[in-house]
Symmetry: D2
Amino acid sequence: MAAKVRVAVNGYGTIGKRVADAVARQSDMELIGVTKTRPSFEARRAVDAGYPLYLAGDAAPADFAAAGLPVAGRIEDLLKQVDLVVDASPDKVGKANADLYRAAGVRAIFQGGEKSDVAEASFNALGNFSAAHGKRFVRVVSCNTTGLARAVAVLSAKWGVEHWEATLVRRAADPAESKRGPINGILPTFQLPSHHGPDVRTIFPELSIATTAVVVPTTLMHVHVNHVRLRRPPAGSADVITAFRAAPRFRVFAPWEHVDGTPQVMEFARGRGLPFNDMMENVVWEAGLKLDGADLYFFQAIHQESIVIPENIDAIRAMTNPSVDAGASIAQTDRALGLARAPA
Amino acid sequence: MAAKVRVAVNGYGTIGKRVADAVARQSDMELIGVTKTRPSFEARRAVDAGYPLYLAGDAAPADFAAAGLPVAGRIEDLLKQVDLVVDASPDKVGKANADLYRAAGVRAIFQGGEKSDVAEASFNALGNFSAAHGKRFVRVVSCNTTGLARAVAVLSAKWGVEHWEATLVRRAADPAESKRGPINGILPTFQLPSHHGPDVRTIFPELSIATTAVVVPTTLMHVHVNHVRLRRPPAGSADVITAFRAAPRFRVFAPWEHVDGTPQVMEFARGRGLPFNDMMENVVWEAGLKLDGADLYFFQAIHQESIVIPENIDAIRAMTNPSVDAGASIAQTDRALGLARAPA
Amino acid sequence: MAAKVRVAVNGYGTIGKRVADAVARQSDMELIGVTKTRPSFEARRAVDAGYPLYLAGDAAPADFAAAGLPVAGRIEDLLKQVDLVVDASPDKVGKANADLYRAAGVRAIFQGGEKSDVAEASFNALGNFSAAHGKRFVRVVSCNTTGLARAVAVLSAKWGVEHWEATLVRRAADPAESKRGPINGILPTFQLPSHHGPDVRTIFPELSIATTAVVVPTTLMHVHVNHVRLRRPPAGSADVITAFRAAPRFRVFAPWEHVDGTPQVMEFARGRGLPFNDMMENVVWEAGLKLDGADLYFFQAIHQESIVIPENIDAIRAMTNPSVDAGASIAQTDRALGLARAPA
Amino acid sequence: MAAKVRVAVNGYGTIGKRVADAVARQSDMELIGVTKTRPSFEARRAVDAGYPLYLAGDAAPADFAAAGLPVAGRIEDLLKQVDLVVDASPDKVGKANADLYRAAGVRAIFQGGEKSDVAEASFNALGNFSAAHGKRFVRVVSCNTTGLARAVAVLSAKWGVEHWEATLVRRAADPAESKRGPINGILPTFQLPSHHGPDVRTIFPELSIATTAVVVPTTLMHVHVNHVRLRRPPAGSADVITAFRAAPRFRVFAPWEHVDGTPQVMEFARGRGLPFNDMMENVVWEAGLKLDGADLYFFQAIHQESIVIPENIDAIRAMTNPSVDAGASIAQTDRALGLARAPA
């Protein structure tokens, strides 16, 4: 049996704590430690979970001692013990960390808040799995880009995509980001088309895509409003529904489930019982999908906090195991994470 | 000098109170009375404004007496004194009122919450002014449709519209509708494409248009995300900005004005000082408009409470004065309403 | 070993689905079935969890068949098989169900949305456990009353309560109740003092208490602002903190945990991993508690969806097992539910 | 006739733009100019209103020139022309400006965001008008403190106040502050009792008062939940209602007006037509007030943006006209501002 990949998670916030849990659930990976810059209820959760805690940035050891949180060393100590680090530090800090990782001689995965040039390849498991094979620095694209890339992967493989238009209705803050607004209002993103389209092209370089975005006062999920012109369209909407139901990392809701929008999606997620009540799949509604000739309209909801978690796991595997293919890795990841397939 | 058109407003809520104020400001119209079904701070406002108050529906005279609100009669009494009634009752009630208006032999204007077959014509001042000439029953299209129709009118006249796509990010409730949610979440509208496209075609029957919609937790304004394929595109974005600045009922914000989204638009409106701090114009941002070849992307914000008010006034004039044309009526309406043109 | 108590849950919504899970975790209880009036993602969750599904109200069997949800019968069939039913139907429906339960000869627990006269006793585990001994109909008080009663129990036992004042800042809707507002605004509850004080007195008849309430646009938790005049006050705030830390069903957050308000409390709960990311304890902050002579000021946050769940379990046990006492039942319930005690 | 008081307003944001309008409406004052640090729609409003615009802080003249906004000089130039400056700069900046004002030899009014030691006296018109007589530096207390002080003034004068308790349910951001949260959640203010009580005592030094506060996701108004122990209580609630109706700067809503909460208060305000749809009065509800023996419970809503505006005007008058008394100044201010008294 091959040795497990030894993994560090640098930053134990919204993304990092989920990646840590996900790594800990994989039989071919071992979580060596996580980092924190200050004590908090999240730092305590790491300790309670048995994840060795290391200090990063300007963290003060005395603060952790006062909080009764045992510390195993600093990030530099952690990096000496691992094969790979998942950088889950705040946007733009990842780039600054790259030198640290390079100096330590470890592979590294960055998140979508970094620019694509931070890494050798941008990555999405369904989209371009093999692009990460053997790479030392890989970037998992952002939540919105991941959601789009998955849908592109499914539709382009089956019917070809002539052109993709999407309006991204973005949640303004994560649930615990209580300092961010707006409380009441809509903020257009004054970049036309938005950067999300080009970001999808880091995965699908040939894709014709144009995206726009607005920010709205909710914390739960983004919603994408998609209009896709297909090259070889199927007979009807039902074929597209069937394809999404068959694809990994999609959850299709039927009308009788009475899921009216993102509040009910998250309620479903709470009842399913994954950690943090996460919804790692693209959410599609039967009633919210319509094929009209070659024109496909559909909504998808994207859980910004968790959708990239399985992608980080697949990226670790693709980078460190040149013989694994996308299908096998995705299946292994999803089984370990408890991602149930939608009922047929 | 011609006699003034004698106007009743049936329903003195969000739309009705604004129409009443707007009629009262026109030199060629006379507000004869408004109706209410129960006493409230709004009923008191009508009395304080000197608008004769009539009862409608199951209104109880004793309730008004107890509140100290003088009543001039019932809706049936009011209809006997007028040439035209603007129906501003809740959605679907308008249709039920049609028989009442027919029996009274008065002209009537309905709002966009009614289906188009309630009237002989659907109306938008910039779009199809003359369609209301001489008609007895006219329907002013809804806030979203009005916003779209105005933009279609401007762009199609100058450059031709090959195809129009719009995602409507809709406010979930008006500011005082405190019982309506959602408080946190996004609700897709499960009708693809949405009904707004066909509704725009009641004004522009030949237009190729597809719309989609989501509902978000805000009370201020809708935001439309538009992608328009122009037939004979101008040289650049600046030409389109110039066209919107030159058009009536558009307000274009420049970057230096620091209007980031709908919260700042409404703050601007509060400072301008129209009644109810209304924003009756389509709001466009210079920074939120981009022409890329023949593809025009732009955001527009639509104040759902007030955008149809000048249209109701123009509809009254078009129906009752066969010699007036769109330009003259719009100019007269806007001057009376204090709609300042954007600075050049 | 005594036979397990056979339990039905009538209504599988916000409260019912949690009670069902909680009953299923108790070694001395057996969940016989739950009811639903229409198919939904929640009905499917019951089926997936292996809870036999029965129809209630005007549920149509054909709807469930179409959704592929197997049905075991109607509520009447279910009641024949159980010792006790937990009524978790919508407010006021519980009272209507009482006749059904009486006819079936089963014990019943009602929720706090019903008036107190629906049952022989109102119940709170820390407050008046023994009041439920041997009773056939018991009412578990509402979420706000439960939160208050627990705090009263702790403080009155140790130091005596001269008078209690509380302002309840109430969440307007549960997370998935997407039709309820307000979206932006504060609604005072025009009942002074509010009904919560008298409801606490159903548990502590002698308590001097006055409460007031406002409704605010959030879905997460209520917050109580308490001012308590103690009879025999301790030396300082630290003593009160110690008492809350030592009490069951309280979670005290320390300043270093950086829990600023209800968003962070729920983030903590998501990381803890109880079903539905529930927070069944009263939440108290060290930094949000101050003893000034005999005057104690403190905030507590109350998770409206889950706080009554352990109380329902204790009520079942108290009603069916006359020999069990409060301490033993609470400890057994909490162990089964995974309610960790706060770190010392 | 006495010379008009020459007034500058330093800062033309939420408070400053309102003070400027209010000064311009007073027959005994003259607005000499306002300041801005960057061009914006608000700067343009000042220009459109004919208010000479001066630069403050690090404002760049070129930015204003590019925006087409004429500038009359810098704050230092403005101060040379005035008797008094109203400082409406952001919190804590006012203190830094004090030296500037002292050097210029002008009187100055500061806002409640500054600490009380910035000035010789803290001020509320109903509470301690004469404390500002002849002073050079005066501080108008904050919106919440102003709302409390007005109510204290009315109740203590008539019936004596034994003790005052208030929970302040605070709006989290002003309508156009789109960067501030929380979007969903309640944040307790971890200061017990809160600073508002001591701040009220800068007006009423002998008052026994304890306040607490929470922050909630709304932009419209604060709501105070008051419990007042009166010394010589009247016979019933109606007497208190009558007193509030008779007091200046109070608006009492009757049940038939159907004003359920702050959304409807602001809708009333929009219909009344003061600039910015302001609500400068304390808002009290008949249905939200209850006298129980000596214990008075009542809600009041406070419009954080505008409630201090008439107080700033009165402070100007008190500081510069030693012969004016509170009643005369308040009446003059309110008449000029269009503050209608509530119907009897």
